[in-house]
Subunit: 306 residues, 2 copies
């Protein structure tokens, strides 16, 4: 494939940025990829494993002359990074990000974007429980969705160019506005993460059931929660603080439903429980048909070693 | 391997019984395995796919002369089945079950067990989101735990024999008492299932986020909940109705923790959130080290087809 951008700069070198680098290289989507991470240890690791064509010692150095600058830092740090790199941004360049929350990122970043530079927020819906520069791999975005959330007044060309990059990295791309994005993600990602964190916290907190029992018997259902609850703490703290309204709203709905089921258990209302559990089964079938999961029995268990 | 039992009867032919049959055959653990299912369609399917050496048209016919009878029906149906087969049970035979709740099963089944027949309740901690006679496979129990919950006064021999069967089917075996079993399972399995069902129900119920959006973007975290929430509705209804006290207790703890995190979000207490999320990460590491999951990135995603 011919280059989509001559030079791409990745600011922040965690799971997403490192996967972007390997996916860009896999498809030859950029001439040069520069990178910067705040921690010197991360920069050293990146240099050692060949992550980025050039690892820079400041965000400005990495961003200078880049045709695309992607902010891959926690949502709470986006504004400060945008302010720092603003003076070196090339006219006609595009700034994007990979944050899980969009309204807050737009409010924090857009004021720093100079005239003549485009800002096209994005959010790849892909991840694993691992984080850091060594956790990335080229296939992370394959057949996953990336949502573009262009701000008002953005011309179509920079949006189309960013779409081409994400499609070149294997993703399916869709556009939506920031408010709808934040609500959809509160339902499909943010609230599920908070609930998983809570359940794992409860299990760890109980003294009558030992930690080793929880761990040994996790395959009975708990295991799937721990996978979610092992995600990066800083990233998730920022998500909840910056998508507060939508998360609290969905949490309120969740609590309401949970209390209704709890009441059905307490009163022995088996019909209510059976109806509810039958209904939720159909949604799973839709996810398998949409290609976002496999129906292989117990999902990957063959890989588990004794 | 030489036979552990001459004849085994499986009453109920769903995921667990069909997996037991294939695992017994894989290791040659029994001379003959008979089977019975209440639904004629299930019995026909079993005959067609060669599930059981002999499929019988009544539970009594299947159980008659068996050295081990395993009740593989929903927890709420165990008592009636035990009553039905009691008259044909062979002296010296063992009756067992695979129910997810133990105190209730013991109370429902034990009164029907004749003098001279042993009752050794058991619970294999293994399953998939699929159910029915065609969902079983020989590897289901490999490296998974099966808990034996012997009742007072049971001699050691029938317990040891049942242990040998489960170990022959690939499981790790441990013994515990019924009350502790029901609490451990409320933490590791029952409450997580209820929460997953609730979250999936909430997502499906929201009208501002469409079903197709929930399904398309499920890889962002929600997907893991739907896998759990696709389990058999009848089985889970019975679990919650019969392990009511422990489930309600753990749910109470869960709600307490959730409200504390919700408050931290509302007040912007980032330190509380970060500490909590850091703590839950460690438990995940323990589960991987205990061999109950793999740390492969995004767990099996390579199998997903577009």
């Amino acid at each position: 494939m011919s280059h989509v951008y001559d030079r791409v700069a990745l600011i922040g070198l965690g799971l997403i940025a490192s996967s972007m680098f390997w996916a860009i290289k896999r498809a030859g989507l950029a001439g040069e990829v520069t990178g910067y991470a705040r921690s010197e240890a991360t920069r050293e690791t990146a240099r050692r494993i060949g992550l980025c064509d050039r690892v820079c010692d400041s965000a400005s150095e990495a961003a200078e002359g880049a045709d695309l600058v992607v902010l891959c830092v926690p949502v709470g740090a986006m504004g400060a990074v945008a302010e720092e790199i603003a003076p070196v941004l090339k006219p006609g360049a595009t700034v994007s990000d990979v944050g899980s929350v969009k309204r807050h990122v737009i409010d924090a970043v857009a004021p720093h974007i100079p005239e003549g530079v485009h800002f096209v927020p994005a959010h790849p819906l892909a991840g694993t429980e691992h984080s850091g520069p060594e956790s990335g791999f080229a296939e992370l975005f394959d057949n996953r969705w990336t949502l573009l959330v262009p701000v008002d007044g953005t011309p179509p060309e920079p949006v189309a160019q960013l779409r081409a990059l994400w499609e070149g990295m294997g993703a399916n791309v869709e556009e939506m506005d920031a408010e709808h994005h934040d609500l959809v993600l509160a339902v499909t990602s943010h609230t599920p993460h908070l609930i998983a964190y809570t359940m794992v916290g409860v299990a760890d907190d109980l003294r009558r059931v030992t930690d080793s029992e929880v761990i040994k018997y996790s395959a009975a259902g708990f295991r799937d929660f721990t996978r979610i609850a092992a995600s990066d703490p800083t990233m998730w703290r920022d998500v909840f603080l910056t998508n507060k309204d939508a998360t609290l709203e969905i949490l309120g709905r969740f609590t309401e439903e949970l209390f209704a089921l709890q009441r059905a258990i307490r009163t022995g209302d088996g019909a209510h429980l059976h109806d509810y559990f039958t209904h939720t089964r159909a949604i799973r079938r839709g996810i398998i048909e949409a290609g976002q999961d496999t129906d292989a029995p117990d999902f990957g268990r063959a890989k588990v070693k004794a």
